[in-house]
Amino acid sequence: MSLLPLVAALFVTAVLFALFVASQGYPAFDALALVGKGAFGSTFAWQNTLSRAAPIMLTALCVALPARAGLLIIGGEGALALGGLAAAMVPVALAGWPVLLVQGLMALAGFVVGGGWIALSGWLRYKRGVNETISSLLLAYIGAAVFNFLVEGILRDPASLNKPSTAPIGDRYVIGAIPGMDVHWGLVWGVLVCIGAWWLMRHTVFGFAVGVAGGNPRAAQMVGLPVGRLMLMACFLGGGAAGLAGMLEVAAVHGDANADLMAGYGYAGILVSFAARHHPLGVMAGALLVGGIGASGSLLQRHLDLPDAATLVLQGMLFVSLLAFETLNRKGAQRV
């Protein structure tokens, strides 16, 4: 696996971003330096980056796992929102139950709801021939609408006045920080899930079968593999990972489900998965990079008065140049 396209893409992105910043009348080199500093320049920056990386590596799996089955899913944001919402309901319903049990059930609820949402795209593709990329994107919008409808409607906590939210999950059930760090345990969850996904896809019969179905569906049919079911499973697992990201955001960051949940992690995951060529371990490194870009936003804002959206521009540039350079390396892109 060649790293050349990645390095080239990073370089081009840096140049483009510098030009963009300069064209707006801001000092280009300072901006680049601040991105580096804001992402990895201090313990505080690292902790900020790592906290953001946790959900991103999970939403990246929402692209990487279906990709192994030959599907391009880009609707992780919807699975994240609905998974988070489902998770937020668990402590409300089961208030008073043991902490670990409730957190486990929250994770399960997020996983199942997020997985089901993405599996819907897989199902539409398999049964109806609907393009899964388009359907998952549309489902992401529908998911966001459903989320808002419920959070501003029947699930709204009357006490949340100016920002519609569900009822708080309660301090007991909040996922805390890793001892000695200002990073929540969600990072560990994310890393473990990525390792698990890698093992599942690269070392198990299931992963092998998914790879065959994705690599050539006709050959998979010829050897009797249930192509449709494998696609569906891959979508379910991917969506489940995104739903889990939503659960972690609720349980470790927000304390309830509200519109802040939809902060674009679902879309950042697409970028990360492509950068990692859909490799479940590579996704962790990619998540650090993109998490770092996000973390540098506040520094750019404070020192240069650049708007927060500048980090989104940077992400977008990175994505486009990655795709462009990836075509130069088609061979490497074929295998997960």
Partner: protein, 549 residues
């Protein structure tokens, strides 16, 4: 060092207009002489693999030159270097004694060198006429359709075989497409035509028609032909000179009329071998066919365009029996195989294996021992992005010893997978013998062997085979035919769908003829007559006698 001067297209068109008469596409005058070709010390490596090693050969102007060699010998690589598809690492080519440099296929085209590839290069959505015009590549901005049409009709009138100019290419059968590929080259007035296994999709009669015409053109001095083939019959019938490659090196050359088939075969494999084309592959006379293994009843299926491809199809295959299905390609054979393999859903009808309904699930495949060798194995039976070893494990990656764990196993063990692949590669002579290579980098014949190895290593009870020796050299053909016969003699039921009548006559116990999606004729191997089968294949007798089976 003289390099060819390539005229810009505009000039060439100008000259052709000056002529007054409509001549060939790129405006060269008719009756141009055939050109000669020499390869000098050509070498080409793919990574570690030396595909061509110092190959020199001479093709005289106006000759019909055949290129023979085992699968993976480097034949396709050599001609691809010649037409600029690959860059040779060393060596060069002389055209009419002059050196020239071909950097891409377009350069070769300008020199009057054309190539018909193993796979079709037509635009399926366009008509025959549009495909011919498109091939010219120097079309003006606005087409004078009337003029072009008359030009094309005149051209078609001179050809020994015709195609409807307005016909959609997607509607043509494989044989007709191949004819169109060749017509395209003639339309472009090639002076040297390279054919890479051109007859593998043609019936013997069609092959004779096409090759006979090209042969005639070489006699008239209009064309030089360089043909890659695995069929000795074609070499002896049409070839003047034969060159043999073995593992990337020239293994000998000689005039066809003074070289025996045995000598050619010997050059190909490097040892003395016996090419007995035995007809003794049939079942032992005393063996009784066993119970019915495969039964198809009233099967209906559609093709990709949604029109009926298989209509009320029925057949039976018994244990210990090989049933051959003959037919011109495009009469529903492809769809039939796809339905049996689970790659296409049937509209209606029953498929019974061992008397039980069969849906081509993995469990049923194992339970009834249903395996297959589909045609175009890279497309139908392999995952191109995976290695040879992984592809060889498609049947058993979920079984011990390749995988380990509860039930059928869930942990794939690469060491076991590779060990197994090395055994199979060894046993079936897949080359290069390195299972870690991506399967897409193997030559066509070796992909076929790899799939064959995987399928025949299973406990086969029913084997579904389509064009199994398509593109294989004679040694591999022998091996595969022998293995099929062995499997049948061992009690397996075999359904063999093939466009090669010789193969069917050699192997089958019973021959069915398929035309327009139905079986129109059935005959036992002993009483089969080539001419009668040929008539039914051509569809001449479909209408008066509807169903025989």
């Amino acid at each position: 060092m003289v390099r060819f001067l390539i005229q810009p297209p505009c000039l060439r068109r100008w000259f052709s207009d000056m002529d007054g008469t409509l001549v060939g596409a790129n405006g060269q005058t008719p009756g141009r002489d055939a050109i000669s070709l020499a390869a000098i010390g050509v070498s080409k490596c793919f990574g570690e693999l030396q595909a061509l090693d110092d190959v020199s050969m001479q093709v005289d102007a106006g000759s019909f030159h055949c290129l023979l060699g085992e699968n993976g010998a480097g034949k396709s690589t050599l001609v691809k270097c010649l037409v600029g598809y690959y860059r040779p690492d060393q060596g060069n080519f002389l055209i009419d004694g002059r050196e020239y440099e071909v950097r891409n296929p377009r350069d070769a085209q300008h020199l009057g060198i054309g190539m018909v590839y193993q796979h079709f290069t037509l635009a399926p959505g366009l008509t025959v006429a549009e495909n011919l015009l498109l091939a010219r590549g120097d079309l003006p901005f606005v087409l004078d359709w009337k003029r072009e049409k008359t030009g094309l009709s005149e051209f078609m009138a001179q050809m020994p075989f015709r195609l409807e100019l307005g016909a959609q290419v997607a509607d043509l059968a494989a044989g007709e497409k191949q004819k169109l590929e060749i017509l395209k080259q003639l339309y472009l007035r090639r002076r040297l035509l390279i054919l890479d296994e051109p007859t593998s999709v043609l019936t013997p009669a069609e092959a004779d028609e096409v090759l006979g015409m090209l042969h005639g053109m070489t006699r008239a001095g209009q064309l030089t032909v360089l043909m890659i083939t695995h069929k000795f019959r074609e070499v002896t019938a049409y070839g003047d000179v034969v060159t043999v490659l073995r593992r990337g090196r020239p293994a000998g050359t000689g005039r066809v009329n003074s070289t025996s088939v045995e000598q050619m075969a010997e050059m190909m494999v490097g040892t003395h071998i016996h090419v007995a084309v035995e007809r003794s592959q049939g079942r032992a006379p005393d063996a009784e066919p066993g119970p019915v293994r495969l039964q198809i009843e009233a099967l209906q299926a559609e093709n990709d365009r949604g029109t009926p491809a298989i209509r009320q199809f029925a057949l039976q295959v018994r244990a210990g029996e090989m049933v051959g299905v003959a037919g011109v390609s495009g009469n529903g054979q492809k769809e039939l195989i796809e339905v049996l393999l689970g790659q296409r859903a049937a509209i209606s009808g029953n498929i019974l294996v061992d008397g039980e309904p069969y849906q081509a699930t993995r469990v049923q495949m194992r339970q009834h021992g249903v395996y297959s060798l589909p045609e175009e194995p890279l497309k139908n039976a392999c995952v191109p992005g995976m290695s040879v070893a992984e592809n060889m494990a498609l049947r058993n990656f979920d079984l011990p010893p390749v995988s380990l764990g509860w039930e059928t196993g869930w942990h794939v063990r690469p060491a076991q997978l590779n060990r197994r692949a090395r055994e199979l590669v060894e046993m079936f002579g897949v080359r290069p013998a390195d299972p870690s290579l991506p399967i897409a980098s193997l030559s066509g014949g070796n992909v076929q062997r790899a799939v064959l190895a995987r399928e025949l290593a299973q406990p086969v009870r029913l084997l579904i085979v389509a064009n199994p020796v398509f593109g294989l050299d004679f040694a591999a053909t022998e091996t595969i035919h022998r293995r099929l016969a062995e499997a049948r003699n061992g009690g397996a039921a075999i359904l063999l769908v093939s466009e090669d009548l010789d193969e069917l006559l050699e192997l089958s116990d019973r021959i069915l003829v398929m035309s327009e999606g139905v079986i129109v004729y059935e005959v036992t191997a002993d009483s089969a007559e080539r001419a009668v089968i040929g008539r039914y294949m051509a569809g001449h007798e479909t209408h008066d006698k509807e169903l025989v089976c």
